[in-house]
Symmetry: none
Subunit: 204 residues, 4 copies
């Protein structure tokens, strides 16, 4: 384990919290390597350097630890994005910035991607939380007459799917700047901007 997000956050705390964090970090690493379905409890404890049974001192089952890991990561990602988006008023720039930074963060923290991508499908309210931010920005763009769309859940689904494709492509091919530029362009087009205006916001 290189560093471990959760362990960083519980560094000074009690042993219980530190072990719990070790398990969460291990779970993330294992899911990144083998996927959510294939991840076994024993993989997680082994990766954490702990005994088999220790898992059950902290979580009831795989779903529980994965849910917690996914929420923890999402919280961190949203926190970082929030900080960087403060003061950006133009909705189109907000969308581009958020997308760019999101892909960038998941490129830097490669293990997080698998958990977030998997979590979006499996965790019920996970997606809803994510949508709240996105919807606000898009509605802002509509109010600013930058976007020409009806803001539906289905639209958000589409945008999130595009971002997911970008993250996957980036993990796979590692062409970050180009991929990010392309997906930002796609999203802006989707939101009703002309290719020309979209291109201005996403310069090569």
């Amino acid at each position: 384990m290189r560093h471990g997000h959760f362990q960083d956050r519980t560094a000074g705390q009690g042993k219980r919290e530190r072990t719990r964090s070790a398990l969460l970090d291990a779970a993330i690493a294992v899911v990144a390597e083998k996927g959510m379905e294939a991840a076994k409890i024993s993989d997680i404890t082994t990766a954490a350097g702990l005994a088999n049974g220790t898992f059950y001192n902290h979580f009831n089952d795989k779903d529980e630890i994965l849910r917690e890991a996914a929420y923890g990561i999402a919280f961190e990602v949203v926190g970082r994005l929030d900080a960087e988006m403060e003061g950006i008023d133009d909705a189109a720039i907000r969308v581009v910035t958020a997308t760019t930074r999101f892909v960038s963060i998941l490129t830097a923290e490669r293990d997080w991607a698998a958990v977030l991508l998997g979590g979006a499908d499996r965790l019920p309210d996970f997606r809803e939380n994510l949508y709240r931010y996105l919807r606000a920005d898009i509605e802002r763009g509509v109010a600013q007459k930058k976007f020409d769309v009806e803001v539906t859940t289905f639209l958000l689904d589409q945008i999130v799917a595009l971002i997911g494709v970008a993250v996957r492509a980036q993990l796979h091919d590692g062409q970050e700047p180009e991929i990010t530029r392309q997906v930002c362009g796609s999203i802006l087009r989707l939101l009703g901007m002309t290719p020309a205006r979209a291109a201005k916001l996403v310069p090569a």
Copy 2:
């Protein structure tokens, strides 16, 4: 099992072929109900009304039957689409027609959707095959100056992701015409059409 695509295609043939088809159809039904990961061999044989050992007279493992089922369905879907697209010259109309019919077919054959959606992720060359057709139409649109894009695999990934979102939404909510219209609009925008021109090709 209502009808069974594979059984239809092997109706008059020998017992071996008919049993094989029964397994393929059963696999599709089981995957539609429980998903690919959760589908057990014994679920498939039970659904087919066969003994579990019979499975191994025809397939080596779950992956093999699922791959075959996915390819069989994909072949059928592509065949139906091909027939309907014959003679359509305008690339934008081709894209709209293909998308509309694709969603429509998977709405009618609900069980196929799970297999195709799952198969796209898991089967290596599956996606490549699909892309050949799509790429041709988009390149045609570029040549016709209807689309303003660079045709990359990443672009195709995005379009396929949007179609996937539409299929999922349709399975879930059942608002086919409206969903199809929206996703066609999104794809045309993605391909570089203005909202206004896209809207003309996808009338309410």
Copy 3:
């Protein structure tokens, strides 16, 4: 395994039935040796000379096989008693005969005792079935003016407890004739006979 009641009863039948019987017989033997709580699934399959997983082809859990074993044995015991009690009219003689034969059967089939003794506590309707026969004989004795009791469930509980003590003593000490005589005397006394009359029915 010496002979095996269930295997005897399924000797000519299909493999499924024979394996099932082997498991039932093995369960009885294991319970006799280690008790119901301590009996493990793997003990049973090992005793039956079968693989671990085979158990689950036939039973869902330990409770299920033990219940079935207990009912099967009880059915057999009741059958044997019934045959021998036919034509006995005097209720006191019926009670003495049933008790004597019951202890005698469980002395011959030592392994059955643990299952029946344990089953009586754990299986809900098991006891009820047993009581039906006993109650009939005691009511007959009351009608014949041989017994002087009110026939309540609590009374039956007491008599069954006395028989249980006798079976346990017999398993432990192996003094069958004397133990049987004593417990029959006790039961008759409990039912309201004087020691003198009771003694006549239970001669040394």
Copy 4:
């Protein structure tokens, strides 16, 4: 925990004794609720409001604490009975009084019943201790020509079984006076009294 027999007895003493008592009382409560087999060490420490490791500062294993709990309770019960039986000379009245009071005590201290009933089966010398008192009273009755029995261990087993049935019935149905009367009658009959004489000692 309402009051706790062992804690009462160590109220003023050192911390070690008080913790030990808390564990004993907790063990009794847990066994009463879940039975001896199902009682887990952690159930006991949790019920005592202690950390699970604390258990091993005081006992080596479950058997040890249960044995100690059973003996402690038995000692208390015997003590209470002894006090009340002082001065009763007639053996039949002694038996009736002891039985009545015994059931009565276990009705008041419901949690004790499970431990004593379970202990009688599992603890080797437990039963022997109990029998010493019982045997003395019965031999006295034989000497007084009230009882007409041969005093064997098997006889004592029978009487104890009847008392056990009464306690269980009482815990289950809660008809104490009637149940006690019936079982006293049964015991006296068992010991060779006629129903008529027995009835006199156990008036409605």
